[in-house]
Amino acid sequence: MLAESIVIIGVNHKTAPVAVREKLAFSGDCAGPLLTLMDIDGCRECCFLSTCNRVEVIFVASDPAVAAVAVRGFLFAKSGLGDAEAQQYSYLYQGKEAVAHLYNVAASLDSMVVGEPQILGQLKQAYRDAVEQKTTGVILNRLLHKSFSVAKRVRTETNIGGSAVSISYAAVQLAKKIFGSLQDKAVLLVGAGEMAELAAEHLVRQGIGRVIVANRTLERAAKLARKFNGTAVGLAELTTQLAEVDILVSSTGATDLILRKDEVKPLMRQRKNRPLFLIDIAVPRDLDPEINDLDNVYLYDIDDLKNVVDVNKAEREKEALRAEGIVAEEVVKFGLWLEGMELAPTITAIRQKANAIREVEVAKTLGIMKSLTENERRSVEMLANAIVNKLLHEPMIFLKNSTPHDNPQLKLAFIRQMFGLDKESPEQQPPRENV
């Protein structure tokens, strides 16, 4: 069976600890591994994916069992582990399971953080590299393209990537719900620690207009400010700055509150009630929790954000179940295509299509020419039959005869495309999203 020739062998965060994964050590360049893999006996097509959480080889081989050992040997070449250990740390999927696994990877259902969007880009890059090295053929081309569309389907039909599952991203999402666009907004970082930096990075990526850093030591503030093209100020300027900015991220090591309700209240008048989003990620807290009682002020501390994240994670798991349903459906579809990619079913499909056309056309013609005698009617039918058979004769010969240099799958794919045997309903254009 053709399906059984599709194999995926790989290592990911679930099967191997980082100590093992880092020994595999494949860096940037994909051309090398791809060419080595193609040299493996019986390996007809391959694609190589390497990210920080996974390394996998997707390949099509005439003798999968033999090729599998060789591929595993290649994966673990630098690790110094024997094949028995290598088997223990890696996974092998074949046939429909391999298809399902690839769809899961593409749709980010197999990721450490389920639903994270980067993996699809990484897979697309891996495929581009493989195409560049000409290591993919009819089967992997279709399989990879399908995996991209499955990922897209999962993303649009479920809410798997919809909610933030990291603290800093949750904060950014909230900021967007309050301010809409962040373009003309300013953020004030109080404390120049790592958490502040991470939050600022997210905000900058979302296009925040201005970054201001306030810190006890001005030097550190200046250093962080430079990174974001911002300005640095002393901690004494906190309230003056707070009258101007829209978002405040506080993460100082102070043991006491640095901002109280009575200090913020007069500021809101000065701000003409422009909303203020305060994020307190410091422990112990920097900002007086009562500030949240003020109108148009939204204060979130680290626990509030964690709660948001926890709720979102639970939501994602629910969505993941729905996504698995979509994957299962698509695996069946791909299986049907694979089954058709053999000689006999293709011939049957062409004949069926031709016969269906013939029957419809004959019926149409006879419907108009009602005055024909029985004999004449039969002649018309025979005429149609003869045309169909003679037209199909050469393509059938072309399909059945194979010379040693032929790539049978390429031929099948070509003929199937020519006769339009795998046409699906055209994909719907997604409508524009509103604001």
Binding site: L174, K272, N273, P275, V311, N434
Partner: protein, 271 residues
């Protein structure tokens, strides 16, 4: 003629149901269906007014049925016109129930066509009445926006994210909606009062006679003027602006019905 009205009413009710379904499912195709139904309803509603105009021989804005129905018509078209340039996520599910409610009130009011009293026979009737009621339409949209703002703000403030957080637009977008609707509504309200006053001069010889409807229109106008003034100078934005849009709409409704049924006066409907 009543057939057009009935059909419009059913289409509005159906659009409301489909908008609710879209709100829960968030499927874009469903929204497209809802919009198409509402648009069809809006067109039939327009046809209804044209037919009624021809049948009555004067602008059909003189009975409670006609005024409320036109109110709903204004809301529908103001909302649909937003789709063209100024889109607000999930606005429809808040607007269509109010449109349907107005239509139900219109359906239960007398639909009789009363002859027009001589005093009202003027080309000012269509101008004044339609502008004044269209102002109500925009105030109603601001009211819906205000409710959306308060719902969204509540979830963000209380840090409990329920059904609205992901579905409603950002607070900023809702605040802009508020300003947009109030500015347009206020402009129309002002024009409505001016045209009314000019008409009054022609009909009764005086620009202003402290008729209850006039008085309450003025009060409504002052409320909205205060809202807009405070917004621009004192920063009555956001939460307070949302609340004021709701309060202001209360004044609009009182001017529309309270005055007619409680206080009487020359503006009382014919029917």
């Amino acid at each position: 003629m009543t057939l057009f009205f009935q059909l419009t009413l059913y289409l509005y009710l159906l659009a409301t149901a489909v908008y609710v379904f879209h709100f829960l499912s968030q499927k874009k195709q469903v929204r497209a269906v809802a919009r198409a139904i509402l648009l069809t309803g809006g067109i039939l509603h327009t046809v209804y007014f044209v037919v009624r105009y021809v049948a009555a021989g004067h602008t059909p804005l003189t009975s409670n049925h006609e005024a409320v129905s036109f109110f709903a018509w204004s809301m529908t078209w103001a909302f649909l016109s937003f789709w063209w340039k100024y889109r607000v996520k999930n606005f429809g599910v808040f607007v269509t129930p109010l449109i349907s409610l107005l239509m139900l009130i219109a359906a239960f009011s007398s639909q009789e066509m009363a002859p027009l009293p001589p005093a009202l026979k003027s080309y000012w009737l269509p101008v004044h009445a339609s502008i004044a009621i269209m102002a109500n339409g925009f105030m109603a949209l601001a009211f819906c926006g205000g409710i959306m703002y308060l719902l969204q703000e509540r979830e963000i403030k209380k840090k409990k994210f329920g059904i609205f957080y992901s579905r409603l637009p950002s607070l900023e977008a809702l605040d802009n909606l508020n300003q947009h609707c109030l500015a347009l509504g206020f402009l129309l309200l002002t024009l409505g009062i001016i045209t009314g006053s000019v008409w009054a001069k022609q009909a009764w010889g005086t620009y202003w006679q402290w008729d209850p409807k006039e008085t309450w229109s003025l009060i409504t106008w002052l409320i909205y003027a205060a809202i807009l003034h405070q917004r621009l100078t004192m920063g009555w934005r956001r939460r307070r602006a949302a609340i004021m849009a709701i309060v202001g709409f209360g004044a609009v409704l009182f001017t529309l019905w309270g005055v007619t049924y409680l206080l009487g006066g020359v503006h009382s409907y014919v029917g």
